[in-house]
Amino acid sequence: MTAFPRSKTAIVGAATHGMGRADGFEASDIAAIACIKALTEAGLTLADVDGLFFCHGTDTLGGLSFAQYLGIHPKVFDNNRTGGSVFQSYVEMAAWLLDAGMIDVALISYGSVQASKTGKLVNTLEPMPYEAPYKPIIPISSYALAAARHMYQFGTTKDQLGAVALAARQWAQLNPDAYKRKPLNMQDYKASRIIASPLAVLDCCLVTDGAAAIVMTRADRAKDLVKKPIYVLGAASETSHREIAWMEDMTVTAAVKSGKRAYEAAGVGPNDIDVLQLYDAFTITPILFLEDLGFCAKGEGGAFVENGRIAPGGTLPVNTNGGGLSCVHPGMYGLFEIVEIIRQLRGECGARQIAGAEIGLAHGNGGVLSSQATVILSGS
């Protein structure tokens, strides 16, 4: 197999819009604004875009609608639906397509207004006939089953799940764009109402509005654009199941494989990563991904997150925007992770900036730990 086009493509624009609430707007409205912001900061226009990668939260042909909304006729168009990790996979695919010369400028975007429209996570999924009779609450009961298994096998504790929630909130307090910024302590966390044991309300990501967009082009062109290019070192995806009962080992995700291939492509390892975003749909997920991406051994993720290690001032900065738990989570969150890493590597993060961050990792998760995708970016 040909090697991944390491550092041959770069992200040259990144933006968010309508973070938290965007009352009165449609998903495409706020996504379009994010797209124009991202193109503008790159010094590009819609006329330059020949590859569009867009996922609409509820409309299965919403990607086509979005191309129409923007008034563009992309040569390459993707409306993939692997869940929140799809944006990491889009970066991976766009890198290959740009390097092959199939496209010159890729625009990757997402938007949702589910919070202001419905106040809850919009469910567009077909019920699975071998799950539905047991009334699982998808996705939370699926993640609860994975968390329960991790606790059983490795002795992971509720306090350790709480450490993930507290770290996210502490980062959010440093991010003016974050949705939940009130202080959170362990007592508040433990008083949170259980929905599906062991997971409580404060173990779950937010339901917000929000849109994001990034622009990618080949590295040679990126050098001549306005913003400091953020190079794509490596990216890889892997999917392992759809429903949780068919996850081979509920404590080991396909991030083991997506991470391994992304590291190999990038020529770096976990020790080289200065800042990382790990998809925190629920408090258990960063624990799983810290293990599966090689930041600690399998089973040690719970102990790893204790004592503020991933919080501001800790030794490993994780989810510096406040994460899906405290910053933003409009149904699919992966693109917001990538935007945060770009901003960290550009040095734009103000109070939450990781000094000297050069290499960042954004890991996406989709479905119920079903699809995993890892992107490694570099500021040089």
Binding site: Y130, P133, P136, L145, I195, P198, I244, M250
Partner: protein, 126 residues
């Protein structure tokens, strides 16, 4: 050709349950169990045949869904069958919070909203 040969795998599974039989599929060549019902063997693509499940299983993971009264809390579990496959189900005849990972359980067919459904009860009571 029986009536079941004209049915898709989901309908066959349900028809067996209606006859009181909890059937799962095995690869005709590999002998490996597969669940949920399919037309081809997962990962292999070979023919599948129906075999009656032993009904014996172990709780692989479990969660209690907490509801506000007057609704009742209930259990959702993933059961590993003796045959080596997993399925989502629930364990009944026990407080949902008392269902533990590793617990031996036995399948029962019940009728829920007019449909046959496989649930489990604690212990090896086949």
């Amino acid at each position: 050709m029986s009536d079941k040969d004209k049915m898709g795998p989901d309908a066959q599974f349900k028809a067996f349950l209606s006859e009181g039989k909890f059937m799962i599929q095995h690869g005709k060549e590999s002998g490996k169990a597969a669940f949920f019902p399919r037309t081809v063997e997962p990962g292999i693509g070979g023919e599948l045949v129906w075999v009656e499940a032993s009904g014996r299983g172990t709780v692989y993971s479990t969660t209690t869904i907490f509801k506000k009264p007057p609704m009742h809390n209930y259990n959702v579990a993933v059961i590993e069958l003796e045959e080596g496959v997993r399925m989502m189900s629930r364990v009944e005849n026990i407080d949902p919070t008392e269902v533990k990972i590793g617990m031996a359980v036995t399948a029962r067919i019940i009728t829920q909203k007019g449909e046959p459904v496989v649930i489990f009860v604690p212990g090896d009571v086949t």
